[in-house]
């Protein structure tokens, strides 16, 4: 080969190595700066609250003093529901999922590339009352209306050897006693009144009733995802209806908002739907896009849920529970909504 001499080649390689090392070091330094607290998302480029969003302003009205807790760029924040586009109080508390009810806030901290997530339970003064180390990827969290129970769901394992076979782990913490159930899979599961035994049971998406001993959740076994009613004291789960995921109980306790897999196949996406618990009648909401979230109720008539833009930014949308009206953006650049009634 009649190319440059060996010395020249080694010199060129060395210079290039130094230059490339400088580029890599710059990337590391920039990454570190972006990761500083309050420096935005981990990627340093998530949308801000001021980003324009297509969609009409929400036409919902709330008593003065009603607030909405949500995550803005992953930070715990609060906005007045009488002016949801208005100024937001943003804390420095970083969560992947959060929910607030009855003076208790649950926060699933993000699983970092190197760090496992935690469940943080905060009181009204934002003081950490409990912190629990968890493994997996944060998925859902809810607090009972009286603030006495916290539930969480994480994806565990399976995520790196996908092929559809993910698995979840769901637990419940009693905030006052500190007692906790690590996995609802231990509960006895009944279908059509008979005990159902299977190894492939997954439970996710708990929502609590006013009586915190009673809850609803999703149980999946043999490819069927069912709504179950759970009893904490009796340690039982009873199937009520199939093809219901991520239930959310209305404040009056009569209906369940949930995501319904199109054609019972999650690969086709989900429709935001409401189930009447007395009649088991389903009403599809006016939201035509696929919703992959556990919805929240703003009041007995309006739902809130997160939708992701193509660039990855989340917005909280709202639509009516009775299937009428048109979906609208409630809070731009936010997710994990939870309503705080006036005076709470």
């Amino acid at each position: 080969m009649n190319g440059p001499s060996r010395r020249v080649r080694i010199l060129v390689t060395a210079i290039a190595a130094v230059l490339l090392a400088a580029v890599a070091t710059t990337a590391v330094v920039v990454g570190r700066q972006n990761a500083e607290p309050a420096g935005g998302s981990a990627r340093g480029r998530a949308g801000t609250a001021a980003d324009p969003v297509a969609g009409a302003a929400a036409d919902v009205h709330f008593p003065p003093g009603t607030r909405l807790d949500a995550l803005s760029n992953g930070l715990l924040s609060t906005v007045s529901l009488t002016d949801p586009a208005g100024p937001r109080t943003v804390t420095t508390r970083r969560c992947d999922r959060a929910y607030t009810a009855g003076g208790t806030t649950s926060c699933l901290t993000p699983a970092g590339a190197l760090s496992a997530p935690e469940l943080l339970v905060l009181d009204k003064e934002s003081k950490v009352r409990h912190s629990i180390d968890l493994t997996g990827l944060p998925n859902r969290t809810r607090v009972s209306p009286d603030g006495s129970k916290v539930a969480w769901t994480l994806f565990v394992g399976g995520d790196s050897y996908a092929g559809g076979g993910f698995s979840t782990r769901t637990g419940i913490l009693d905030v006052r006693s500190g007692q906790r159930i690590d996995s609802l899979e231990e509960f006895a599961y009944f279908r059509d009144g008979r005990r159902h035994r299977a190894v492939d049971i997954n439970v996710w998406g708990v929502t609590f009733a006013a009586d915190p001993n009673r809850f609803y959740a999703t149980v999946s076994s043999k490819g069927v995802r069912s709504l179950v009613q759970g009893d904490l004291a009796a340690k039982t789960l009873r199937a009520l209806a199939d093809n219901v995921e991520c239930p959310s109980l209305s404040p009056d306790g009569t209906r369940i908002a949930f995501k319904e897999a199109i054609g019972a196949d999650p690969a086709k996406g989900w429709r935001l739907t409401v189930l009447d618990l007395a009649t088991l009648r389903r009403t599809r909401s006016a939201e035509a896009r696929s919703v992959d979230d556990q919805p929240a109720w703003l009041d007995d008539r309006n739902l809130a849920y997160g939708l992701q833009r193509p660039d990855g930014t989340n917005d909280v949308w709202t639509t009516r529970a009775d299937g009428t009206g048109k979906p609208a953006v409630l809070v731009a650049g936010a997710n994990s909504p939870a309503v705080l009634p006036a005076g709470s």
Partner: protein
């Protein structure tokens, strides 16, 4: 036979007797290619190690969507590999085609930073990355076969694969170091990975010698010539043996998953199991390659099969605890060291030099596609019969595969080796 003489002029004359360890026969070009692979593999494994985390944590992709991205393009990559191999033979520019593959993969790392959160764009970038890998492997291995004398091919591939797996071993560790230093920024990992890959391309350009002959006479590299190659009995046997090898391996993912279930390991252990396998592979690749040169490549490869059967039996055997982990991970590396490079060393003499890249691409594609099939089959067997019966079944398949390989390659192999080592 088809022994390459080009490039051997730079090697010192074979002064040592047969008893001496003749590592110098491996040659500078193989070391240069090994260096390129080492650097490139650091870059590639950095991304592989953080990609699931990035997609699921950074972009909040659901695991199902990740599975779709992950399974993308395996078949297309195999086809591209054959096309790339054929192109490299046709224009007799193996280094250029390999370089294009390395360059494409390097650019894909920058692409990951550039495309942001769009899932479809990320899918395209990952496809480009894999296309680059498909493109470069066969011409690189062909260059290795042309850069070392035939009786030292086992060593040459052993040294190359050892350097390659040093990269695979270091990649995840470098990624973790960058993540720690950069406040867990994924972009920093991708940019660093690009810089390392770019250095690899530069080393290839500056230090690897191509083996260019005069353009092949018309007809020597043509679709018809490939057709003739495919009708050649020894080549058919080799491709069949490669497919058997692919069919016999259920994949590291399953091995680690079975270990994890048996020992209730937490998810965080997965990367360490892979690192352990790489470690065993990198330590043993060169010695086993040398052993293959001495006692014969086929016996070493069959020994590798035997070890794999033991691995599958151990997964539900009497042993447990840390001893099981170390043994399974170590033996898994032994299997790779005894089969991966050795198969290429076994193949090279059978493939005519003009069509060697195409031939290697055919063999590697056959193995890759068969492997894909065996993973699916094993997944089904696991569901139907449970993990214990499925892994024992896999061990039986390995033994059958080894017997069939012995039957396929025994007759044809040895006379050719003798005929070319003079």
């Amino acid at each position: 036979m088809y022994l390459s003489t080009i490039g051997r002029t730079e090697l010192p004359p074979d002064a040592g007797g047969p008893g001496r360890r003749r590592w110098h026969l491996v040659g500078g070009n193989v070391l240069a290619l090994g260096t390129v692979s080492l650097i490139t593999d650091i870059s590639a494994e950095m991304v592989t190690a953080v990609l699931p985390l990035y997609l699921v944590l950074g972009l909040q992709l659901s695991p199902a969507a990740y599975g779709v991205l992950d399974g993308l393009n395996t078949g297309a990559t195999a086809l591209l590999r054959i096309a790339g191999g054929y192109a490299a033979d046709r224009v007799s520019r193996r280094k250029a085609v390999a370089g294009a593959g390395y360059g494409l993969s390097a650019l894909a790392k920058l692409g990951l930073v550039a495309v942001g959160n769009s899932v479809s764009a990320i899918g395209l970038v990952l496809a480009a990355d894999r296309a680059g890998k498909g493109l470069r492997t066969a011409p690189r291995d062909a260059l290795i076969t042309l850069s070392a004398p035939e009786h030292a091919l086992g060593r040459a591939f052993g040294v190359h694969r050892a350097m390659d797996s040093i990269g695979a071993f270091a990649g995840p560790l470098v990624a973790l170091a960058v993540l720690t230093a950069a406040g867990q920024s994924f972009d920093a990992v991708f940019v660093t990975s690009f810089c390392i890959a770019a250095l690899g391309v530069l080393v290839l350009v500056l230090f690897v010698r191509d083996h260019r002959q005069a353009r092949p006479p018309a007809g020597t590299v043509s679709p018809r010539a490939v057709g003739r190659l495919l009708r050649d009995r020894p080549v058919q046997r080799l491709v069949a043996a490669a497919c058997l090898l692919g069919l016999a391996t259920i994949g590291d993912g399953f091995v680690y998953l079975l270990l994890q279930r048996r020992e209730s390991l937490s998810v965080g252990w997965f990367p360490l199991l892979a690192v352990g396998t790489s470690l065993s592979y990198l330590i043993l690749a060169a010695p086993l390659g040398a052993l293959a040169d001495r006692v014969g490549r086929l016996p070493v490869m069959l020994g590798g099969y035997g070890v794999l059967a033991v691995v599958y039996l151990l997964l539900h055997g009497p042993l447990g605890g840390p001893a099981l982990l170390v043994l399974v991970v170590g033996l898994n590396g032994v299997f790779y060291a005894a089969t991966e490079g050795v198969l290429m060393a076994l193949a090279a003499p059978v493939l005519p030099e003009r069509l060697r890249t195409t031939g290697i691409a055919l063999i590697q594609s056959g193995q890759a596609i068969a492997y894909l099939g065996s993973s699916v089959l094993f997944g089904l067997a696991w569901q139907a019969w449970g993990p214990a019966a499925a892994s024992r079944g896999a061990a039986v398949c390995v033994v059958v595969g080894a017997l069939a390989t012995a039957f396929l390659l025994m007759a044809k192999n040895s006379p050719e080796r003798q005929g070319t080592s003079s």
